[in-house]
Each structure stands twice: as structure tokens, then as C-alpha cells.
Amino acid sequence: MPTAGPNTVAMAGFIIFIGLSLLITWWAAKKTRSTRDFYAAGGSVTALQNGLALAGDYMSAASFLGIAGMVALNGFDGLIYSIGFLVGWPVVVCLIAEPLRNLGRFTFTDVVAFRLQQAPVRLAATAGSLAVVAFYLIAQMVGAGNLIRLLFGLEYELAVAIVGFVMLAYVLFGGMIATTWVQIVKAVLLLAGAFMLAFMVLLQFSFNPLALFNAAATEYGQSVLAPGRLVSDPIDAISLGLALMFGTAGLPHILMRFYTVPDGRTARVSVMYATALIGGFYLLTFILGFGAMVLVGQDGIRAVDAGGNMAAPLLAQAVGGQAFLGFIAAVAFATILAVVAGLTLAGAAALSHDVYVHMFRHGHASEKEELIVARAATVFLALFAIILGILFKGQNVAYMVGLAFAIAASANFPALVLSMFWKPFTTRGAQASILFGTVATLLLIYVSPTIQIDLLRNETAWFPYRNPGLFTIPLSFAVGVVVSLLTPEPSASEQFAKLEQQIHFGELN
């Protein structure tokens, strides 16, 4: 029987693999640093490398720990996340990737602000990005906290705090070397780990996934192969589905990846590689989830964490013993570290660069000063993540990331689309759409059953749905359109032709 608690072999395996992956990362990053500047990695990253890095950024703890746990506890309904996390990518490649590459310099805000006034748009976009980053961070903290608790037998709260400080140290020290290579190393590790785990599960079912699914259905009833256990309300299902589909195109740390490649073509091809890797990985989550359901058992998974987040590590323990548990836990932890590094840096950059330098110092701040503010912002974000990570104990991390997607789809996606495709879009319209999307989504999450019933232990929640996307995405579009029509901005419409041209050619000289 799998048990929670300290185990020397697992701990040793964990520490060895974490050490190794940090060493590889450090070595690779050092190698890169000598040839390319950190921020201007642009030009050197190939399509396959960027595809791997995109996959690395995208497959966070939510994908590996969260979905496996959700499938293990709820069967089919967990797969809604596997599928939803992937269907956003055609939208990204068809509508967003190339224009983004050709229009911007460093962040998607550059694109929204292309023909609008810089400062007001940047401020609004920072708020949107920070909200997305915060929910993503909380999810990673919950995953990492559970992992450390499972391995070392610490209290959850203490585990989250320790994880938070380890991450803080990693980001402050690794921030400078956390380049594309971090994500590449981690993506390869994660894919290899998930593949090995799935292989060992299927070994017991003569390599027939259907035999595995059937075993799950025999033990827990046919309903695990059918929808309804988790997302019973139709509106909730649609709302979650929309948030997942359109959220991908609004994730700041994913959109940033299109600036590390030389041109639109490489951006496009890199998405093709990324989607193949991510899609393959999500197909594996079917096997990991049902494998954990059958080979570990739902009671065993729930006993360790109510959110089910430890299904994959427990499955590793069941099929490969303590050393394999250590390996899989290390892979998961490396995944979380890499994602957190990227997220924290994106958040800190938004706070220090966009808000502090542009708002308070009107563009006049020394690099040293900016660095101090960036470090302070990192510490602030880490503390914030620790506190909320503790509060959100027992929540599934894939679900938490689903909320981050809802914010991204409501705050960033409408403004991005309107700025590129709708000529009359204005500065006020962009501001209103982004701020409305952010605030409305956060408010609806606050009054949803997740916070009111699960966290605050109230009897009822004012808003009955767990994911607000269905309401906030169309409303954000509407707010952007209405406010733009009320505040015409001739200079913005005049520059639309230039924007259209640059979408195809990039910057012409």
C-alpha cells in the first residue's frame, strides 16, 4: 500500500534528481549566457527549441499533477481539462502567434499598445497579467506543497512555506540564468517521466489502454468513463470550456515566447512542435489518471490530498517503488520550479518595468534602481503566493489553473484581438476591457462556490458557477467595443494601416 510520509530511498532519489536537473540547467544556461544576452535571446532560438520551451512553459504542475488527480478521482470529467488545455493552440497559431511576433518587441502589451497611448494601456495590462500570474502561482504552490509533504512528511503549511522560500532563492539566484534552456530541460524531463510512468502502467495491462479503462469501469462503475461527476451543471461545463480555449491566447508568459524566435515563420512552426508535444502529453494523462484510479485507488489518493494532486507520484510509487517515486516527484518539482521562475519573473518585470519605471519615474530610473524594485517585487510575489497557497489547501491545481485561464481569456484575449482586428479600438476601450475583464473575473471567482463554500465555509455562494468565463469573456469584448465607440481616437484608427502592414512584414526598414 502506498503511504504518505518520509522514505529515505524516495528522498534520496528526489534530491539526486533535483540536483542533477539544476546542474544541467545551470550548465546549459551558462553556455547560453556566454553567447547571447538574456533578454535578447531573439534570433538564436530555433523552432524546435522554442516548441520545447513553449511546451515546458505550458505544462505546469496543473497538467501533470492536477489532471492526473482529477481523472483519478472523477474519471472522464478530468479529461475536459486535458482536451481544453490543447484546443486553444489552433487559435494561438492562426490568429495570434505571427502578428504578435511581427508587431511586438517583448510582451503582448506592446501589441495592444501599438497604435494606442503607451502608459495607460501598460498599466491596465499589468493588472491583468498580475492577476493571471497570481492564480497560476497559487496553483504551483499547492502542487509543490503537497509534493514536499508527501515526500518528507512535513505539515502542509510548513511545506508550502519552505517551497516558497526555495523558489524565492531559485528565482533570485536563477533569475538571470533562467533562459529558454530551463524550460527545454524541464520539458524533456517531464515528457520522459510521464512516458515512463505510462509505460509502466500499461505494462500491467498488456499495452492496451482500453483494458486499463475497463478495469477502472469495473471497479468504480461505468460512470467514470462518462461526464457528470465533476462538471454536472451545463452552464459550468460551457463556461469552463470557453475559458480553457481562449485563455491560452491570453497567457503572458506563453505569449512572451514568440519574441525569442527570429521571425513569424519560426513562431508558427514552433507552435506546431509544441502542440505535438503537449497533445501527446495530454493523451498520456488519460493513462496516468485511470492508472492511478486502478493501481493506487481513489481512497488512497484522497487520503494524501483532498484535491487529488498526488495521484501521479503515488502511481509512480505503486508501479516503480520508492526510487521511482523520488524520480517522478523530482520531475514534478523541477516542473514547478521552472514554471514559477518564469511566472515570477514575468510578474516582477511587469511591476518594476511597466509600473515603477513608466508610471512613477516616467521612464527615468537607473538599471540598478529597477533591479532593486524587481527583486522587491519578486519577494512580494513569493510571500503572496505562500499565503494564498496555504489558503487554497485541498484545491485541485488543474482547477486553479483553469481560473487563471479564465482571467487571461477575459482580461487579455479581447484586448489583444480588438487591437489587431478592429480599427476603431481606442486607448480608453483597451483600458476598460482589460480592467473590466480582470476585476469582473476576480469578483465572480470570489463569490463562487470555490471561495464561499470550500474556503470560507459559507452555506451558499452568490454566484453558482465555478468558472466565470462564459460571462466575462463576451462582456469584456462588449466593454471594449462600447467604450471605444464612446471615445473616438483618430490617431489610433489612422495607424491601423501601418499595423496591418507590419502584421505581414514585420518592421520594414
Binding site: L86, P90, N214, A217, S223
Partner: protein, 100 residues
């Protein structure tokens, strides 16, 4: 120069329109497939619960197909853009620079 400019402008408009058309068609297909799948989850759970063979429900089969659809659509777009769009844009760009 003006003749070359206006020629390249029409060609740009044409290739731009072709790209948006394909983008919008593919995005629409993805949206319809996925929203259709989600609507089935929302409103016709018994249908998705149909067991096709032991261990395989219609829901799981369709789920796998949605994932494969997403990837096929991306490959179609990337293939078209690599073969046609890039070549045309490069040509227009050349003409444009010569025109200058």
C-alpha cells in the same frame, strides 16, 4: 514606382485576405468541434456515456478525436503558410524594396 507600389498593395491585400480567411475557417472549425463536444458534455451526458466496447465510451473516443483535430488543423495552417503565404510575402517585400 507608384505602379509597382499599388500592384504590391493589391497583392498584399489579396494574400492578407487569404490568410485571414484560412485562419478564421480553421478557428471556426476548432471552435465548432470543441464547443460541440462541450455542449454534448453539458446537455447529452447519456450519449457520451455510451460504451462502444469494454473500456471505451463515446466520450473518451470523441475526446481523443478533439485533441487530434486540434493538431491536424495546426498542421494544415502551418503547411499552407510555409508553402504559399511566406513565398508571396517575400515576393511582395522584394518588389516593395525595389520600388523604393
Amino acid at each position: 514606382m507608384t505602379a509597382a507600389m499599388s500592384d504590391s498593395k493589391t497583392r498584399l491585400l489579396r494574400v492578407s485576405a487569404a490568410r485571414w480567411r484560412l485562419s478564421i475557417i480553421l478557428t471556426t472549425i476548432m471552435t465548432l468541434v470543441y464547443v460541440g463536444f462541450i455542449l454534448l458534455i453539458a446537455f447529452n451526458k447519456p450519449l457520451l456515456a455510451t460504451v462502444l466496447m469494454p473500456g471505451l465510451s463515446l466520450g473518451i473516443l470523441l475526446g481523443v478525436l478533439v485533441i487530434i483535430t486540434a493538431w491536424v488543423l495546426i498542421v494544415i495552417y502551418v503547411k499552407w503558410a510555409n508553402d504559399h503565404y511566406d513565398a508571396t510575402v517575400a515576393e511582395i517585400r522584394r518588389a516593395h524594396q525595389e520600388g523604393n
